[in-house]
Subunit: 340 residues, 2 copies
């Protein structure tokens, strides 16, 4: 298991320790009124200053306060605006600070993968012009950056229509990814593993996105460090990527097999078992600030890698690209039982 | 002007260049249908797979599509959730990934600063228990971290009630800040400068927050690098902090003097002029992914540092803490005209 993986798992398992530490501070906290519900508030003696502006927002502080912090919203809400975009093949939330998505969600089924109505040679990479220019990832940022424009939802998952495939080529579905050894190799094998899950599950959902994880330096301190590509620097290069996978049994309220994987944005030896990159979903949540299974009841939830053999099937990139259409639905993965 | 400041200014002024580059790609883009409005979409030949779940979200893709990416939301919306918190003295948006605020907004007036109904010795630092535990900054994260629990809205701006001051001590109003030479020195002088603006403007709004800026390494590449404190690592240490300041003339629809400052989270020599840290508001927007003056018409907008002398008034930290109440409203800053 990689050091980074260990670090985020440590962060999760430390929750128990955190509870103990919280107890240390609880007497202090208990003796302090919470800021928003203090029973000891004093009425300000200062006269209310004349409000220089017309109230523009419904969330105003009471008039007994001499100031109005939310009055800032007269100049516009600062954000962050997590631009939500829905395309035929994917739904995503865009991060205006890193110029990468927060997450991209997709849905694949045996039928959607069996269809072959699109050719990636007809798709071209395009900027997402729906994102305001100052926050937009640009084609020129990737140009000669040394990184691939790495699909979060892969083109090969959207062969059911050219429009669907085209919509995977928008830059808001991309992050800078290491090409050789990662995007074109191990990461592609992971994408293939996800597709092969449709042999077992009639409906598979995948959420993919970037992470910016700290690592421990020689001085013992944890630091996040990542490149920003473009001139001027614009698009952040994630240190890691995650996939959270849901294998659905096809019944309303049925069982859902959930698995999460975190891979470094780096060359990965194909000999490394996929299981080494499996992490608790909670580890991805803690690292990303997101939540993936909040509304999924525990009794419906199964652990994916207990239900199926989580392993990659190594094929050469060129072969895979060429033969993907023919192989889909016709070839069971190594160790992954085929439902057909 | 510091290198980092230059970098973000470069990012802003490069917008013109970006437009030219976009033109290079425009023929390519024009020949490609935009993903969401392609006139060449093919109807998928694959039969619609049975939906395994009851639709739970109003934003569904049309039924002609074989898949439903937004169906993920049945397990909960992933976020990001930018927790918005309103307190008497401040309004903030919390970043669950960095465990710091995105921004904290405050409002000060001559009257609110003249009031003195609170004592910071009665306030204690508290965790923001309204933030879910996995995403919460903890007191123990700061303990022995080497960094101050740096107020974004300063306690001294909320003397008008003990409740108001207490609400500045919640950890969601904090970021890890370098103490000596920054939080207790130059940064405090900047806070003082903001307060002195009430001698000129009857209403002053200040938005404060962290930045994570790249710097150019010796290999010519731009990298963001920051420490994460806590064990396990939990709270990000920003590389810089910004303040966006609005001096309001007190008239509805009146003039607003806007200034923005970006300071490194590091020791800063008191001899450095504040003007060296002034940046265009757009530079803070680009770096933070936020927007601060979207709804402020250009004709109402003035440049703060043309209206007043943007300079700090150096006082020793201990003296300032002791005498702050007495001095407020009674002493004009060096070069800053007093309205009284």
């Amino acid at each position: 298991m990689s050091k980074a993986t260990l670090a985020i798992i440590a962060a999760v398992s430390a929750a128990t320790g955190a509870a103990a530490t919280a107890a240390l501070y609880s007497s202090r906290k208990d003796s302090t009124p919470t800021p928003s519900a203090s029973p000891t508030s004093t009425t300000p003696t200062a006269p209310r200053a004349p409000s220089p502006v017309t109230p523009a927002t419904p969330t105003r502080t009471p008039l007994t306060h001499p100031v109005d912090p939310s009055g800032l919203f007269q100049y516009g809400f600062p954000g962050p605006t997590a631009d939500l975009r829905t395309h035929p093949s994917l739904t995503l939330s865009y991060d205006r600070r890193t110029r990468n998505p927060h997450w991209v969600a997709e849905h694949i089924t045996p039928a959607s993968l069996a269809a072959s109505n699109a050719d990636r040679r007809h798709s071209v990479f395009v900027e997402d012009t729906s994102i305001p220019e100052p926050f937009r990832a640009k084609l020129k940022d990737y140009f000669r950056s040394g990184y691939d424009r790495g699909h979060q939802v892969p083109a090969a998952d959207a062969k059911w229509s050219q429009e669907a495939m085209d919509s995977t080529f928008v830059l808001s579905n991309m992050c800078p990814q290491v090409g050789e050894g990662f995007n074109r190799d191990y990461w592609a094998h992971l994408e293939d593993f996800c597709r092969r899950l449709t042999h077992r599950y009639p409906s598979v959902r995948i959420v993919t996105g970037p992470l910016y994880l700290p690592k421990r330096d020689s001085d013992g301190k944890w630091r996040v460090s990542y490149e920003v590509v473009g001139s001027p620097p614009n698009v952040s290069v994630p240190t890691h990527f995650y996939k959270v996978v849901f294998g659905e049994d096809g019944r309303t309220g049925g069982e859902v097999a959930v698995g999460a994987f975190v891979l470094p944005n780096a060359h990965i030896d194909n000999a490394k078992p996929l299981a080494e990159f499996e992490v608790p979903v909670e580890a991805v949540e803690r690292a990303s600030g997101l939540e993936f299974a909040k509304l999924l009841p525990a009794q419906r939830r199964k652990r994916l890698c207990r239900e199926v053999d989580c392993s990659i099937l190594v094929k050469e990139y060129g072969d895979r690209q060429k033969s993907f259409g023919r192989q889909q639905g016709g070839q069971g993965g190594r160790g992954l039982p085929s439902s057909s």
